[in-house]
């Protein structure tokens, strides 16, 4: 595996607000492989906005280093930093298009700043606007476009310099669900066709689920969880992660059930388990096997099946009804078939 495109080493950022120091980042370590789509998720105020701005040094970290393509950005002169920034496109929640420029002129701006010739600019901008599906709206002004279209212009602009890395700052937060899906598909397409590495920050787990390869969870300035998206979904460790995952999958106990759950077994109560199926285990009829082989009846209270990057991921809350020996055997059987089971209590 080649060297990562981007590495963040022990990144700290402290602000001074009304003479008191506020830490936005507290020792972030992160590595982004070439061609990956990495999502950083966290609640608002967790520090994700500061994190993404630290990558292109819009915010200068107070401690730690940003290594991009082998260069430590903090050591660069202003001139060289500008050159590096041209290797990183960036798109924003509120698009940040120039209202005084047309679609074409907005996308052409980074090339103009490079002093490229008009014909060269046209040659490079036109295919990009084609790619984002706006070649029919070259002379429109931003105010005449929908949110999704504006973000498409911003993407074309961010790609104009043929960057290695695309930074997305809450790029879909201001969009409706349909536009969000379309923009995410576009990003995925760009990632696959151009091999562009993408780092995005979001507060919506849906975004992570749809396009990310790896996910990092940030809370109070620290990276509290990191891993492949499927793995993190299947086995979230940190409470913040668990809550965030609860946004998109039926993962937690339904609220009406919660008061009925007991921690001790008494007569008439049955074991409540959460089963997590990944890939093949989600496709094998394991539930009927349990009944057939161990005589354990499965009463399904809640179930959800998600597809993440071609991986299927299932969650099931169920009562297991049978003798405790049979149930133990059944759980052992499930573990053998890579199904994770967690006892939640008795109900």
């Amino acid at each position: 595996m080649s060297a990562p495109l981007l590495t963040l080493v022990d990144l700290h950022k402290a602000y001074e607000v009304n003479n008191t120091a506020v830490s936005a980042l507290r020792g972030i370590h992160l590595s982004v492989a070439r061609g990956a789509i990495v999502g950083i998720i966290g609640k608002s105020g967790a520090g994700k906005s500061t994190l993404i701005r630290s990558i292109n040094l819009l915010e200068r970290p107070t401690k730690g280093s940003v290594i991009f393509d082998g260069q430590d950005l903090k050591t660069l002169t202003n001139e060289n930093l500008r050159k590096v920034r041209q290797q990183m496109g960036m798109i924003f929640q509120h698009f940040n298009l120039l209202s005084s420029r047309t679609v074409f002129q907005n996308a052409a701006l980074p090339l103009e700043l490079q002093g490229l010739k008009k014909s060269e600019i046209t040659n490079r901008v036109m295919p990009l606007l084609e790619l984002v599906g706006l070649s029919g709206r070259l002379d429109y002004f931003p105010e005449q476009l929908s949110g999704g279209q504006k973000q498409r212009v911003a993407i074309a602009r961010a790609l104009a310099l043929r960057p290695q890395l695309l930074l997305c700052d809450e790029a879909t937060s201001a969009l409706d669900p349909e536009s969000t899906r379309a923009i995410l598909n576009l990003l995925k397409q760009i990632n696959q066709e151009m091999g562009l590495t993408i780092v995005l920050i979001t507060h919506a787990m849906d975004v992570i689920k749809q396009i990310c390869d790896q996910v990092g969870v940030i809370d109070e300035g620290q990276l509290v969880e990191w891993g492949e998206v499927v793995e993190v979904f299947a086995n979230p460790q940190h409470p913040v992660t668990q809550r965030l995952i609860g946004q998109v999958v039926q993962w937690e106990l339904p609220e009406n059930l919660q008061p009925q759950v007991r921690s001790q077994q008494t007569a008439g109560l049955h074991l409540l388990v959460r089963l997590t199926f990944v890939n093949n285990s989600a496709k094998t009829p394991l539930i009927s096997h349990i009944h057939e082989r161990f005589g354990v009846t499965v009463n399904i209270l809640q179930a959800d099946l998600e597809y993440i990057h071609g991986n299927s991921l299932g969650f099931m809350l169920c009562q297991l009804i049978g003798t405790s020996q049979d149930i133990d055997k059944a759980l052992h059987y499930l573990t053998e078939h890579s199904v994770k089971s967690e006892a939640m209590g008795y109900v």
Binding site: R53, H94, N96, L98, P110, L113, F141, L161
Partner: protein, 482 residues
């Protein structure tokens, strides 16, 4: 006559356009730069440059709070340094520009402040330099607000340019004040105001149209180019004109008409080019003469000149006497001096020499007694005997004729008589023909023996100038003193 009025109206309009246009371009350009510096040094963008922001902000506020007329006088040394003279239309551009800079700087600062900070971030993220950020992002995005501010600045400068008359700047404002207001000529006032209203309307319309246009650069360049091209000849003309011409300083008002006659005589008989520089007050003509900005002035009498030389150290010398313009006391309330009530309100001039002159005349009429029998330096404080307990109010000489409706009796110089609809025969008391207050023609001491002095004296003593003077001042209003 109407042809003359039209001519002076178009001349004044072109002077106004010239002053306002050049000072707008200079003031807006410099104000834009200052405003950009203010924007980038503000607290949210640059914590370390706070000292610069505070300092520039203070300078801007100070300049903006100085009344324009004070600024006009206060920066005379700077104007002289830059233009070579502080009088005339071109010289008026300097104070107008100085007034426009801080105003437009604040407009720029707030216009840039309206540009979303996200755009700055986006520009930096795509590797823009500070300069690129300014001209590719900030200025185009703030353009409508900047353009509206520019229109506002230009219209403000039109207002300020009215005061340029104080330094002989000409323009519509001076026309309205000197020919309209001071001569009670309502027609001139109405005409100039109409021209000003139309001018402001046109400017506002063009400004709004450019602000709303998407192709702002092309339009702006086009108009700037057009303006500069149309005004350049005027500029060179006004610089060039001063070279072979004798500039004569006079007080605006009827003296200008006498000078018109003098101009013709000088040209026809002596091949001298005279150009008239008009002033609104009695101090600047001597300052200008002392500094060599004009070659001669004709507006004062010997006692006033002596007082000025003594207090200001001017190196000026009298080369000829012209006319005695007897001062008189006038009233709109009484017909005879015996009707003057106890504690009546008397208006007299606030400049020392005209004040003394008026007091001496009152003493002669037996109304007051002055310390040591009075002198050319007597003031209101020197009144030791005031049986009628007269109250004195001192006013600018030009204002005394207007004040007649407010006071019981006012001393009015001849210059302002005809414009107030008065003649010397209306005077309730007036000076005799033997007054020491004959007007004099004054030049700088170094020019005392210059070849043009004698011809100039002969021009002023010519029958034509005499006749013109007699026509303007009714009989006995002006008495040849040579």
């Amino acid at each position: 006559m109407s042809n003359f009025a039209l001519l002076s109206l178009t001349k004044a309009l072109s002077e106004t356009l010239y002053m306002v246009f050049i000072s707008s371009i200079a003031g807006i350009s410099l104000g834009l730069i200052l405003g950009i510096i203010l924007f980038f040094t503000q607290k949210s963008l640059n914590k370390r440059a706070q000292w610069l922001y505070q300092m520039l902000g203070f300078l801007v506020n100070v300049t903006r709070s100085v009344p324009f007329i004070i600024l006009l006088i206060g920066i005379i040394p700077l104007t002289s340094l830059l233009i070579g003279t502080f009088i005339g239309t071109t010289a008026a551009i300097v104070p107008l520009t100085i007034a426009a800079i801080p105003f437009y700087a604040r407009i720029t600062e707030s216009a840039l402040f309206e540009v979303p900070l996200g755009l700055l971030e986006a520009a930096y993220a795509m590797g823009a330099t500070r300069l690129q950020l300014i001209y590719k992002v900030l200025l185009p995005e703030a353009f409508p607000a900047l353009m509206k501010g520019a229109t506002l600045t230009m219209i403000g400068l039109i207002g300020y340019s009215a005061m340029a008359g104080a330094v002989g700047g000409g323009g519509l404002g001076e026309l309205a004040i000197n020919y309209g207001y001071q001569r009670f000529n309502t027609m001139v006032i109405v005409e100039t105001v109409i021209v000003l209203v139309v001018l402001v309307q046109i400017l506002q319309m063009i400004g709004d149209r450019i602000a709303a246009s998407r192709h702002h650069y092309a339009l702006l360049y086009f108009i700037l180019l057009l303006g500069v091209i149309s005004l350049l000849p005027f500029f060179f003309l006004s610089l060039h004109k001063t070279e072979n011409t004798l500039r004569i300083g006079v007080i605006s008002g009827v003296s200008e008409d006498v000078m018109q006659a003098a101009k013709e005589v000088a040209k026809n008989r002596y091949n001298l080019d005279l150009s008239m520089v008009t002033f609104n007050d009695y101090t600047l003509p001597n300052v200008a003469l002392n500094d060599g900005k004009i070659e001669a002035n004709i507006f004062q009498h010997q006692p006033y000149l002596d007082a000025q030389i003594q207090s200001r150290g001017f190196k000026l010398v009298t080369v000829a006497k012209t006319f005695v313009y007897p001062i008189g006391f006038y009233s709109r309330k009484i017909k005879q001096i015996t009707q003057l009530k106890q504690k009546a309100l008397i208006g007299i001039s606030n400049d020392p020499s005209n004040q003394a002159r008026a007091l001496l005349l009152l003493q002669k009429a037996g109304l007051i007694g002055l310390k040591d029998k009075g002198s050319v330096t007597s003031t209101v404080q020197d009144i030791i005997n005031n049986p009628k307990q007269l109250q004195f109010v001192t006013l600018d000489a030009a204002q005394l004729a207007h004040a007649l409706s407010e006071v019981d009796l006012a001393a009015v110089n001849n210059d302002f008589l005809s414009s107030a609809g008065l003649t010397l025969s209306d005077a309730i008391i007036r000076e005799d023909k033997d007054s020491p207050y004959a007007n004099v023609m004054v030049v700088a001491s170094r020019n005392q023996d210059a070849p043009w002095v004698q011809p100039l004296v002969e021009v002023m003593h010519s029958p034509e100038v005499n006749a013109a003077t007699m026509q303007i001042y009714s009989k006995e209003g002006a008495i040849p003193a040579w």
